[in-house]
């Protein structure tokens, strides 16, 4: 297939760019329908309480009101590992912003007026607003009934306010730490929340026709929307069809069911299409943020500079419901437990309930802060044992045949050659020395990420005009994978140009199951399914052509829209001729393809509570930067940023470069100024663009990029996901560079000017979490639960 791989490589332009540039693209927020109603949600304004009274009768009589929905309309509970999440607050309110009722009216103003007429009385209950409180002995339980919830995934420990606990135990860590020849280094880290700020808010238009729901939605996961809507409404999943217009940004925010069931219920009740769109304020306050987290890492370093043992506790604030966070506890083993060879390892990752807006998935979820913590900790180890940070990394990074934290055997020598490439890239992109009194800092970090494999389906229809139609549930969220990589793969196999491959927009009635777009999986999982489907078509085309040309299939080649007898150009037929012949005499040609996770094994008995015990496709990244720190203001300027990224095989290098630039800039926001946190009443304090600072054009630099090809991958044509990982070690790299510039230990992000000044003035003590216990075992739930 190497010839096909080479043919697939090209800097194909996006077919959706022109309409987007002319303002013609219709995102979900731009869609409408005749007779469409506008919906609005009544949300709780307190963090914890008991609903004493809810009376919608006055609201129902308001002008223009067509339907009202409450908890009685949505009996089910949904979740990823635990079914803990009702659609509406049912008796109990668990966070500020939790939906209590929904109204559909002729206009948005009427819907909002009706919300104000709903009589609701909530008796406040004690609220748990932070993880220290949640883990205290006498903490109120966010979910007093947690033992009764349905478990959707076996193996995780749960208890009290610990929604989920995933752990790794490999080797005798106690024995390693008891050795008298090891150097022990221990560090605590803390990060706040990050808001995705995707430009299109979560938005949906729902229809109820012929006994079925049709939901148009701005989502990354049409199949999750289908299945979750069915679960909370108590209807069969087959009664829900989800289609997805172009999505105005996701970054993980839309990797879960969101507003869709509300609109669906209102559509059924009113018999009219219903539009529901979050306001920016709702979007900011109920964002499924990148979670705030607290981390302790402890390492035992042997005299030869290797890591004899490591233990870690990672606390992830999941907010009021478990959601994606339950799954994401899995990732700690691979991110914080990644990068380096470990003699023995003991890691626990806990999703902790609080009375705050639920957190979710955000590009390189969990990995971004664990890589920050791990790489800063690594620099502290190097400083303690008197080794250069780069030398320490070269000695200890995972190489061919090395064991990962969960005992997975890694294949291929990847990180060391990437580090060597970074040295070259660094030499090629020097920065001028500073002469203005600012402090120069630099750092190189490494990171381990993965491709979220998992099931995907594809169908390729071969049309009689010589074009092909690719049908998948793949969503175009902006990364371009469905516009570039997928048609490039199909076209290369069928001997067509990518422009001849029509890509069907996601529709759960048309295409088979797919996990969704996220986790760097589009090119890999949907690409693999598409490749198989295209190969199926190719085989069928060659069979027909072989009969038509009276030549053996294996003597035929597909290229440039034709099927030729090898070595005799012009002897064959156009693909259109073959396809139309087949259509007439045998029926139209179509092919199907499917893909599923390879389930790469971990070491037996190492993991508990993990959804993924070993990585099917590891992805590595090496980042480097130069920065300037202003000692008077604490402002950090990025002078140069460099990325060497493991991409397996780059099908569209220009598109990948675009993802790297965009991902790094999102990471710079996280590292330097994006900050969301919970105020004293439980409300998210940053509820607008004015209070949440995202990177602007003036903040950024062109990233110097080198794509590392050739690392092993089970992805189609050797590909790996490339869009998610660029954000992975930006926080780490900036933090290490600020530490390098200032000579001060950095233990928290973001590095806003006041925080950098506090570092310089030694006025901010390093975090020390009393609720993370000194003995590792005291941070684990008892084994019998």
């Amino acid at each position: 297939m190497s010839e096909v791989a080479e043919r697939a490589v090209q800097n194909l332009r996006r077919r959706d760019a022109r309409d987007k540039l002319m303002g013609r693209t219709r995102y979900t927020i731009d869609r409408g329908d005749r007779g469409m109603l506008h919906a609005a949600l009544l949300r709780s304004d307190i963090a914890s309480g008991k609903i004493r009274r809810l009376d919608v009768s006055r609201a129902a009589a308001m002008p223009g009101v067509r339907a009202i929905a409450t908890a009685a309309d949505a009996p089910g509970r949904a979740g990823l590992g635990i079914a803990d999440h009702p659609l509406f607050a049912t008796d109990i309110v668990r966070y500020c912003g939790e939906p209590i009722a929904a109204v559909a009216a002729d206009t948005e103003a009427q819907a909002k007026a009706a919300l104000a007429a709903i009589a609701v009385e909530i008796e406040p209950l004690p609220a748990v607003l932070g993880m220290a409180h949640a883990l205290a002995e006498d903490a109120p339980l966010v979910h007093p009934d947690w033992p009764s919830y349905e478990l959707l995934h076996a193996g995780g420990k749960r208890g009290g306010n610990v929604a989920w606990e995933a752990s790794v135990d490999r080797g005798d860590v106690d024995a390693v730490f008891a050795r008298d020849d090891v150097t022990i280094v221990e560090t605590d880290f803390e990060v706040c929340r990050q808001n995705h700020v995707s430009f299109e808010p979560r938005a949906t238009v729902a229809h109820f026709e012929d006994g079925r729901f049709h939901i148009e939605s701005s989502t990354q996961v049409p199949w999750t929307v289908r299945n979750t809507t069915a679960t909370v409404l108590g209807i069969p999943p087959s009664a829900v069809r989800v289609t997805v217009p172009p999505v105005g940004g996701g970054f993980g925010l839309k990797f879960d069911c969101a507003l869709e069931p509300f609109a669906a219920i209102l559509a059924r009740k009113s018999g009219r299409p219903v539009r529901l769109v979050n306001s920016r304020r709702e979007e900011m306050e109920t964002c499924l943020f990148r979670e705030n987290a607290q981390i302790r890492i402890r390492s035992a370093i042997a005299p030869d500079g290797t890591i004899a043992g490591r233990e870690a506790v990672v606390l992830m604030d999941c907010g009021a419901y478990g959601g994606e966070q339950v799954f994401l506890t899995t990732m700690t083993a691979h991110t914080l437990g990644g990068n380096y060879k470990l003699g023995a390892a003991r890691i626990v990752s806990r999703a902790v309930y609080t009375n705050t807006a639920p957190n979710g998935a955000f590009r390189a979820c969990n990995g971004v802060y664990n890589t920050f913590a791990l790489e800063r900790h690594t620099d502290e180890i190097a400083a303690r044992i008197g080794t250069a940070p780069d030398a320490f990394r070269r000695l200890n990074v995972i190489g061919d045949g090395d064991l990962g934290a969960t005992g997975q055997v890694f294949e291929g020598e990847v990180l060391r050659p990437m580090m060597a490439k970074m040295e070259t890239l660094r030499a090629q992109t020097p920065v001028a020395p500073l002469s203005d009194g600012r402090l120069h800092g630099r750092a190189t970090t490494v990171g381990t990420w993965f491709v979220f494999t998992g099931p995907s389906a594809a169908t390729v229809n071969m049309n009689a005009d010589g074009s092909a139609t690719l049908v998948t549930s793949g969503v175009e969220i902006g990364s371009g994978s469905t516009q570039q990589a997928l048609p490039q793969i199909v076209a290369a196999i069928l001997g067509l140009s990518p422009e001849q491959v029509t890509v069907r927009a996601a529709d759960t009635d048309a295409a088979g199951y797919d996990v969704g777009v996220g986790g760097g999986r589009t090119t890999v999982s949907l690409g693999a399914a598409s490749r198989t489907a295209a190969l199926d078509v190719r085989t069928k085309l060659l069979k027909v052509a072989s009969d038509m040309l009276e030549a053996a299939s294996e003597d035929l080649v597909l290229a440039d829209g034709r099927i030729e007898i090898a070595g005799a150009k012009g002897s064959g037929l156009s693909i259109a001729e073959v396809a139309s012949h087949a259509q007439l005499h045998l029926g139209p040609i179509a092919g199907t393809g499917a893909f599923a996770a390879a389930n790469t094994p971990a070491m037996a008995g190492c993991c508990a509570g993990h959804f993924i015990e070993a990585l099917d496709i590891p992805v590595f990244a090496v980042h480097d930067c130069d920065i300037a720190v202003d000692p008077d203001t604490g402002h950090v300027e990025v002078l140069a940023y460099r990325v060497v990224q493991d991409v397996g095989k780059a099908l569209n290098p220009r598109a990948i470069h675009g993802q790297v630039q965009g991902g790094v800039v999102q990471g710079l926001g996280y590292a330097l100024h994006e900050e969301a946190d919970v105020g004293p009443t439980g409300q998210i304090r940053q509820n607008s663009f004015e209070t949440y600072r995202v990177p602007l054009a003036g903040d950024v630099v062109p990233v110097a990029i080198e794509l590392h090809e050739g690392a092993p991958s089970i992805g189609p044509l050797g590909t790996k996901g490339a869009g998610e990982v660029p954000i992975l070690n930006v926080g780490a790299t900036i933090a290490c560079a600020v530490a390098n510039a200032t000579g001060k230990a950095v233990h928290a992000l973001p590095l806003t000017p006041p925080k950098v000044l506090a570092l310089l003035l030694d006025s901010a003590p390093p975090p020390r979490f009393a609720h993370i216990k000194d003995r590792h075992i005291d941070n684990r739930l008892p084994p019998d639960f």
């Binding site: 540039l21 995707s198 430009f199 940004g249 996701g250 663009f689 950024v700």
Partner: protein, 154 residues
């Protein structure tokens, strides 16, 4: 109250309360959905339109303030099949990702790339984009495209 204005070259009359945001009239009454209501507080620039040739955030502009004025939206900048230089340059530089910010970017860049409006330098273009946020691209390709237009390379 009846408000008259020229919208994308066409004389129009609107009956709307004077404080109605221009963006709502454009999107809800005229079905011109190119301008996007992203932040509704004038920070993101996704709703930018030209009012008498000047880039203006339509979310914070009451309809009464454009009475008698000329309003051009992103749709009005592209009447033919061939995209104008700014749009063509952004397409050629593969700058677009999710695309939600681009209608506003295109409006401002159309103004910024007029002769005499902005130095043909990265720093000046970035300063000119201060009122725009893009969450996907990391900006540099947008700057590349603007520079190409200014230098006549498009």
């Amino acid at each position: 109250m009846t408000i008259r204005l020229t919208l994308n070259g066409e004389e129009r009359e609107f009956a709307a309360p004077p404080m109605t945001p221009l963006i709502d009239v454009l999107r809800d009454d005229c079905h011109l959905t190119g301008a996007k209501p992203v932040c509704r507080e004038g920070f993101c620039g996704a709703c930018m339109v030209l009012v008498d040739g000047i880039p203006t955030v339509s979310c914070l502009t009451p309809i009464a303030l454009v009475e008698g004025g000329k309003v051009e939206t992103v749709e009005g900048l592209t009447s033919a099949d061939t995209p104008p230089p700014v749009q063509a340059a952004l397409e050629a530089h593969d700058a677009v990702q999710c695309g939600m910010c681009f209608p506003g970017m295109v409006v401002s860049l159309t103004h910024l790339t007029q002769p005499g409006e902005c130095d043909a330098s990265r720093a000046a273009i970035k300063a000119g984009l201060t009122g725009h946020v893009c969450r996907c691209t990391g900006y540099e390709r947008i700057v590349d495209a603007a520079l190409a237009v200014m230098e006549g390379r498009q």
